[in-house]
Symmetry: C2
Subunit: 335 residues, 2 copies
Amino acid sequence: MSRSVLVSGGCGFIGSHLVDRLLLRADLGKLVVVDNLWTGVQQNIEHINDPRLSLEVQDAESFASHQRFDEIMHLASPASPSWYMREPVRTIKANIGGALNLLTLLKPGGRFCFTSTSEVYGDPLVSPQPESYRGSVDCIGPRSSYDESKRCTEALLFESQRISGLDVRVARLFNTYGPRTRIDDGRAISNFISQALTTGILTVYGDGLQSRSWGYVEDIVDGLERFFWRDNISYRGTLNIGNDCEVSVLEIANFVCSLVPGSRVEHHPPAPQDPTNRCPDLTLARRVLPDWGAKVSYQEGVRLTLEWFREQVSEWRSANMESSAVPAMRPVSGA
Amino acid sequence: MSRSVLVSGGCGFIGSHLVDRLLLRADLGKLVVVDNLWTGVQQNIEHINDPRLSLEVQDAESFASHQRFDEIMHLASPASPSWYMREPVRTIKANIGGALNLLTLLKPGGRFCFTSTSEVYGDPLVSPQPESYRGSVDCIGPRSSYDESKRCTEALLFESQRISGLDVRVARLFNTYGPRTRIDDGRAISNFISQALTTGILTVYGDGLQSRSWGYVEDIVDGLERFFWRDNISYRGTLNIGNDCEVSVLEIANFVCSLVPGSRVEHHPPAPQDPTNRCPDLTLARRVLPDWGAKVSYQEGVRLTLEWFREQVSEWRSANMESSAVPAMRPVSGA
């Protein structure tokens, strides 16, 4: 049976990698990407030449279609604080408005997949964070548009599961990095790399001892692929997907400096409500997705990402000969 | 200057009391109530004969108007678990969709007031709960449609305040009871009273030792009135409004039994995720609203509510002579 799939946010960083994986499916008949190109870029899927794929440049919350889909994967949302903090209302609309609208495009019995976030745990008082942890989110704080709209979209989906038996897959993604991150994304690894390649000054917020579990995008998308369609899964709750090896922001910055001669770290005041730690408890993930785990070390992942960013910066420079300033330099805030 | 005000949910229990107070304002030129009569009833405002008042029977999330308002008070939402747990998607739409839509009807520089809830604290690990407490909400639990959509609406409003200077007033209401609660509302006090007056059997979920702070509606609406328009307030955060005198569910049930001869308590299994306690920390409320506080004891409040319910039941019976069963008997769950 040929399957029709919709991916919102399919031109984004993680979305475009997921699109690559989806097109490897023999049972996929049609893949519609809905993306308003707010943080996503069309270039992320330009390498694809597949008649099954089409792009609709529209908001997830207002996309209309006569088609109905077997599977919908809702990834449309900025994920970087420096992006969602600038447009919080739009962020809330993308997440909840997007889910409410896309649910109307799902065939009866279809599957709805959603990329939630470790931000539902806020600044956690428990580490590592199991799925059952209720979180410590300031619901009126500067990160609340993202955190609360992800939480509320989870509520919407699981309540729909409870009331009408909706087939729901909700992954809580932890920090993810890798090729196709925007140069001006603003989160730590991509920021350090683009800064190293341009100004040479890596901005670390606070002392840099706040830790993160950095997941390389291929590892993360492996997990998503298995959870969303490849494995036969009976588990119906939320699932943490991330790397559980914690590394401090400063260690990453120093490692990037070691790869780019002449670059150095500069400390800036802490970002507002930047969590002090974030690490997935993967007990459940290991049970639901046997043998899955993050396999790429941060050293390897950062090298691969650096390589990709070098190409981007060099392309950008040759396209903009008059200036060597790349757009990564806007103020950013936290990982 | 004559002010135009919109109240969503103005036919509801608290909404209709707020409408009464608004109509006492000399500066009020026009009052539009938007209510889809899902849990509100038109009867709650039928006693009003004031040319300034008009009712639009519509959803808050889709109400359209060419008018723009000086003040919007967004109360549209079911508040009883037995109601919102039956229609969680609609509950989410009413809260967030309602706020997003109504914001477009606010005049530049206008004020947006929202009745949030103590449910944002979930099953609290801290008691009493100050506004700064981040809460313990299961964002995929059976109460999540209400809890999370209230949290996310708070996020929306405070992010709008941060980004565009929106004048926001957000009250976190604790348990409220009194005249104009639906007979089939399903929350503890009204339920006990309507049960006492009909079947004579008061259903207490669990051991009944879970405590609540019961606020009589006139006291609560006093607080809202002062916070939303009467006092000149510079404080711009969320504000707890409730009674901080904790009384157990069982004590209320026993008191109702003492007023209605022949009635008795029957214990049922606990309601899902019924919080074990809920009590406002009113430190901030006392500073922001000097001399405000709950003045009506539960004994007095329950008597007043019982009196009102007696009239309702008797009216209902004379209108439905063929049966003495009033609609309070549907399964309910928790306070």
